[in-house]
Amino acid sequence: MTRESASERPMLEIRSLHASAKPSGSSGADTPILNGLDLSIRRGEVHALMGPNGSGKSTLAHVLAGKPGYRVTSGEVLFEGRDLTAMTPEERARAGVFLAFQYPVEIPGVSNMYFLKQAANAVRASRGQEELDAIEFLQLAREKMKLVEIPEALMSRAVNEGFSGGEKKRNEILQMALLDPRLAVLDETDSGLDIDALRIVASGVNALRGPERAMLVITHYQRLLEYIVPDRVHVLSGGRIVRSGGKELARELEAKGYGWVAQGGESRAPKRAAGERGPDGPEAAA
């Protein structure tokens, strides 16, 4: 591994994770989406998760953040040794898990600056840090706004309301900078971005890379990984990781297409990211 000794416990350990989407009505069965996913990420590492549509990429992001509507049926998710699935979404956020949303949500009437201050102070309070007052927060925000070239005018507008696609994604990275998470999950942050916006977002993300922070970059395309160069690349198919490798795997995928791993990958045991555990057995659903 890149920066830390292999003996250190990974920051995020996902073992044989099975998860389903709950039906939206009162009847109907759960739809299994993740089918025995294993993944370990150490601090300081950036991992990319790639895969075709419907392979379970966003489901993994949502399960990590605790979004309602999903059920973990078996397996475990440990974040710094704690069982993530037993924590509420806000507890996970305060513990340092950050999700950059693929589709950031609009909150009419709530100014972006106010929202960010509430969020930053909620996280600070949970860490025993003093809350920032309006002026202190403004100073901090201005410094971080430079990272992703967010103009002041965007701060006084309602959260994400009427933001362009690029503004929304830059706003996500700004929030990441302000909340200073331990683990950042970027869910298709490149989707809907033109090349200039992609460059700004990527440079913001790169500025936030550090030895204490881990990142999981979820993307459909290899393009983003030209800018955010990962330490490891994993390919998700059918709800499990079917192939893992170094950054060159992304290029290979781009050249050969997902059909290549899906065909080759499912006929044999997947190559593992961390390799602490044996291959998946057929898991009994809980």
């Binding site: 953040a65 605790g66 979004k67 309602p68 509507g69 509420t88 979404p89 806000e90 996970r92 956020a93 305060r94 950050f98 999700l99 949303f101 950031p104 949500v105 609009e106 909150i107 009419p108 009437g109 709530v110 106010y114 929202f115 509430q118 969020a119 909620a122 996280v123 949970s126 309602a158 929030q175 909340l179």
Partner: protein
């Protein structure tokens, strides 16, 4: 949103539900001409006032309790089971505020209302109405220096009889509607305000209404007159004890603005809303109307309605003077099993009259929230303009939001705009906030306050803070 969270919302605490133990002067339940004469006698009213009341009573007897058009459900009220007068026993005439019964002083302190003029932090003069009577009015002397009259209604009958006689019923006539007629017959206290020509009232005026006695209705009457070029900002607040039976509150408020005068009237209504099963709570049937009698006059209503089992209330503006302006800003919140049917009427009569309506309805629990608004542009109202915006926010799956806009335009030069939206606090919004470390409850508060911001910023500063807190308390436990 899961069901248990809705249950929690319905169980939220009502912090103002205590009762003050105090010796009272009460009239036995029941309504008759004798009871009306008794009330009038207790207040030492002139003969014309008694006649006026009795005329209203006779009209009321021929009217029917409205059960058809409003979107609220309630059993017929037994008017013979209500007490029409209850007052704490105290010295007939207080020489100064120091003589006020300490029990009453404590009550208002508990409610966060200071009757101590020394603690003039907020610069608000208060008229404190306890059941059927006003028990204290602050800053009367200071206001008198400016020629301003701010006193209990019963006192105004002696202090400014001509003004009362001229304007009482001039905006809301005795037979206007069932509850206004009842009020005209049995009204007890309320506030009277007169601002002389060209005077800008140096402080906020306010009335705090408290229902304390059981089985008693509160029927207050407020009359505010702003003479030519005068300005006044008036606030009212109200609370009541927590009881299993319903209590009736049927008030009438009349505002008159002469040439170039402006009246800003703000309400934070926090009557007891009843419990989770819909037991108890205040029936709030109120008629509020302002007349922009003069040219370029302006009347602005702002209301934050969080209490009452039933709210039935349409603060309205009659825009008679040319270029006069009417405004209505409203937040109405219904949780538990509360019902609200509230809105406004803007009647454009003068040329170049303008009106703005901003209504925000929030429903949670089993609450039912209706906006009902009339915009009428009469034939002579050349160039009249109206803008209406009615937004509804739903929390949970068991509540309802309804909008009933009525437009009557008889002048082709008028411009009328109406916008309406209904939205639900989405799981997506809550999850987004939570993912940023904000608790679900704080997220709901933040979203609700954002939704109401346009209205809350119309309130005077201290009131806005109060209202914001109140919305928070009212939604306490709205989510799990």
């Amino acid at each position: 949103m899961p069901n248990e969270t809705v249950e929690q919302l319905a169980r939220r605490e009502y912090k103002w539900g205590f009762t003050t133990p105090i010796e009272q002067d009460v009239v036995e339940p029941g309504l008759s001409e004798d009871v009306i004469r008794l009330i009038s006698a207790k207040k030492g009213e002139p003969a014309w006032m008694i006649d006026w009341r009795l005329e209203a009573y006779r009209r009321w007897q021929k009217m029917e309790e409205p059960h058809h058009w409003a979107n609220v459900r309630y059993p017929a009220i037994d008017y013979q089971a209500i007490r029409y007068y209850a007052a704490p026993r105290q010295k007939a005439k207080l020489e100064s505020l120091d003589e006020l019964d300490p029990e009453l002083r404590r009550t208002y302190e508990k409610l966060g209302i200071s009757l101590d003029e020394q603690k003039r932090l907020s610069g608000v003069a208060v008229d404190a109405v306890f059941d059927s009577v006003s028990v204290a009015t602050t800053f009367k002397k200071e206001l008198e220096k400016h020629g301003i009259i701010f006193c209990p209604f019963s006192e105004a009958l002696h202090k400014a009889p001509e003004l009362v006689q001229q304007y009482l019923g001039s905006v809301v006539p005795q037979g206007d509607n069932f509850f206004a007629a009842l009020n005209s017959a049995v009204f007890t206290d309320g506030s009277f305000v007169y601002i002389p020509p060209g005077v800008r009232c140096p402080m906020e005026l306010s009335t705090y209404f408290r229902i304390n006695a059981s089985e008693t209705g509160q029927f207050e009457r407020t009359l505010i007159i702003a003479d030519r070029g005068a300005y006044v900002s008036y606030l009212e607040g109200c609370t009541a004890p927590q009881r299993d039976e319903n209590q009736l509150h049927a008030a009438v408020v009349e505002l008159v603005a002469l040439d170039d005068a402006e009246i800003k009237y703000s309400t934070v209504q926090n009557w007891y809303p009843g419990d989770a099963e819909g037991r108890g709570g205040i029936y709030n049937f109120v008629t509020k109307r302002g007349k922009c009698a003069g040219r370029r006059s302006k009347i602005s209503w702002t209301q934050v309605e969080t209490g009452s089992a039933i709210t039935w209330k349409y603060p309205s503006c009659i825009l008679l003077g040319d270029e006069s302006v009417g405004e209505f800003y409203s937040v109405a919140l219904t949780a538990r099993r509360q019902q609200a049917d509230t809105g406004t009427k803007m009647i454009h009569i003068g040329k170049g009259t303008r009106s703005t309506i901003i209504s925000k309805g929030i429903s949670a629990g089993h609450g039912q929230n209706s906006y009902r608004g009339l915009v009428r542009i009469q034939k002579g109202a050349d160039g009249a303009r109206n803008y209406s915006q009615c937004d509804s926010l739903l929390i949970g799956d068991e509540c309802g939001a309804h909008t009933f806009p009525y437009l009557e335009v008889a002048n082709p030069t008028a411009q009328v705009e109406h916008e309406a939206t209904t939205s639900k606090i989405g799981e997506d919004q809550l999850f987004y906030c939570q993912q940023r470390g904000i608790s679900e409850e704080d997220a709901v508060n933040m979203i609700v306050n954002g939704f109401c911001k346009r209205v809350l910023r119309e309130l005077p500063m201290e009131f806005a803070v109060e209202a914001q807190k109140l919305l928070g308390v009212s939604l306490e436990g709205a989510v799990g």
